[in-house]
Symmetry: C2
């Protein structure tokens, strides 16, 4: 089933159930007022939502036209957002651009940071940027929402705690990252609010596209109206989403509604080298930092700038028939001043 959260002038929005084609929806507030409320009691609530989803798919009941732009992120605010780095190619590129090795441990011990979850941006909301020198970048990712996960869960068991899947734009301020990471305590100011796809869907909805806790489809990132990234989300994933959930739960339980991200989806080139641009026949990049690393490796310096006021990023994923699966994230950079 496909769930979404409509804007309704409250902090948490209103839960709705959307049909597979993303054309109409039914209000679900009689089952659970908000997505967090549904997740708080998922075992009891989800069968009722599933039943409503079947009615919606059959076209029965009170249905309304679905508008992605009327949506909040599925969880407009969440109790936890932790972002991993499943695609080590991204990390390898960063390191290669500065001539340093990837530590061996990175191939079995995932990188993960605790992100801010108090106010996610809506999927079509502008990204307020205080200063273009902050180096604003998109990061196209897969994200999952869990129910309650016990401390010390195995990766195999963690897979069963993945209840919903979304796309994510993990907005990053590259200009602030080096100095902030040098302080030793990780990201804070350099990671302003992320945005998520209009739809959060259950794993079964993806059918054969969901296997081994990875999404087996291409993540489509467009930048200023042109294809920028077409990486496959199942390729060269050193860690699955279940691995990342288990990593997060090693020393503590995770509360229902925890959002775990994959990190920037990133593929190597066919020949195993760093990925080429789409206009050069490659799969491109899910963030600007990567193209800058490729440029640095090739020419000694980057030539692509980070995002500036007025720039547009779109993140989407389509099925083989060309239909959007999650709805799109589409955001413009605006001045916050």
């Amino acid at each position: 089933m496909k769930l979404a959260t409509l804007k309704n002038n409250t902090r948490d929005g209103a839960l709705i159930v959307v049909n597979n084609a993303l054309t109409f929806y039914a209000d679900a507030s009689h089952i659970a007022a908000t997505l967090q409320a549904a997740l708080d009691d998922w075992a009891n609530i989800s069968p009722k939502l599933q039943s409503l989803a079947e009615d919606v798919e059959a076209g029965t009941g009170a249905l309304k036209a679905f508008d992605q732009k009327a949506c909040e992120s599925p969880l407009p605010r969440a109790y936890q957002w932790a972002d991993g780095s499943a695609y080590i190619n991204h990390v390898e590129l960063v390191r290669k651009a500065r001539n340093s090795e990837v530590p061996e441990s990175f191939y079995h011990d995932p990188l993960m940071y605790q992100g801010g979850s108090d106010a996610f941006l809506a999927p079509y909301a502008p990204i307020p940027l205080g200063d273009p020198a902050w180096g604003c970048d998109m990061e196209g990712e897969i994200a999952v929402i869990t129910d309650d996960v016990p401390m010390g869960v195995s990766a195999a068991d963690a897979a069963n705690h993945i209840k919903l899947i979304m796309l994510c734009n993990d907005v990053s301020l590259r200009g602030l990252i080096p100095a902030e990471l040098a302080k030793g305590f990780g990201f804070f100011q350099s990671k302003p609010p992320s945005a998520f796809s209009p739809i959060a869907l259950t794993p079964d909805t993806l059918g054969e596209y969901w296997k081994d806790s990875l999404v087996h489809r291409q993540l489509e990132v467009d930048y200023n109206g042109k294809p920028f990234g077409r990486a496959w989300a199942q390729k060269e994933a050193t860690f699955s989403l279940a691995d990342l959930v288990a990593h997060a739960a090693k020393t503590r339980p995770l509360t229902a509604g925890t959002v775990i991200g994959s990190g920037t989806v990133s593929n190597k080139d066919e020949n195993g080298g760093p990925g080429r641009k789409i206009e050069d026949g490659g799969l491109g990049y899910s963030c600007i930092a990567e193209i800058r690393m490729i440029e640095t490796i090739a020419n000694g310096a980057p030539s692509t700038a980070f995002m500036k006021h007025g720039d547009n990023v779109k993140i989407d994923m389509r099925d083989e028939a060309g239909n959007s699966i999650f709805g799109a994230i589409e955001q413009n950079i605006v001045s916050s001043r």
Copy 2:
């Protein structure tokens, strides 16, 4: 006024108003069901809670005996927890123990990490520890809760967004920190859930104990029944709580219910040197890591161990008459296995 959250078998507990002496309380659920609900509409809700608090203080209305052990942390789960390092003496000690300098920037650019906020421990809840080798430590801190804070707020304006004040035990797994910080993305597995004092109080409740966005009282940390730390929370604070709120809001707004921590409260010795133990006439330490640094500086190696199963930590703060202001945090270390 003094607010608390009673356990009631729900995820967010029930909001109550407690008298100053912490002896009785009135249910506040007719005003706001939970503390988060109150914070979501603080401008409208807080005057009603204040009015109830006046009734409670006068002994009118339906009052019940207050039991700190029946409390959750004031926010049993929160949308944001960010912990600063206001007391740079703590950082200086860490650096001195390993013969490195504190970067000059640390005196005007606060250290801050994004913590997990999905499930805080109750103030009297045990601390589940998977493996004693993880090096479990307490950190006695001051924490504040904000309302909605705009992006780019000044420190002066940030002071007005501090709506509630608490004590905090920021549980840390010292054995996991070096390897985790070496990965470059900050704390994750090394920071399991924190606990907060039973009471969250408004700044005016502290009277002259709240000045310049600092609490002007001694933080009392007892370890296994003996005084361990008696540091003054206003002394040698390089940053105020308002400074830390402004730091957190530099690149993004903060949502109501954001919890910001001071970092471990830490004082220098009278002579300006590293603090002495309480049994040696000093003010002691608000975490075990500090006594280990002092021991390392003095003897080349630490002699005090981190916490093991069965150990007990108590964190409290009293007024001049000896009465607990926030109620105590008191936790035992237990095996999670």
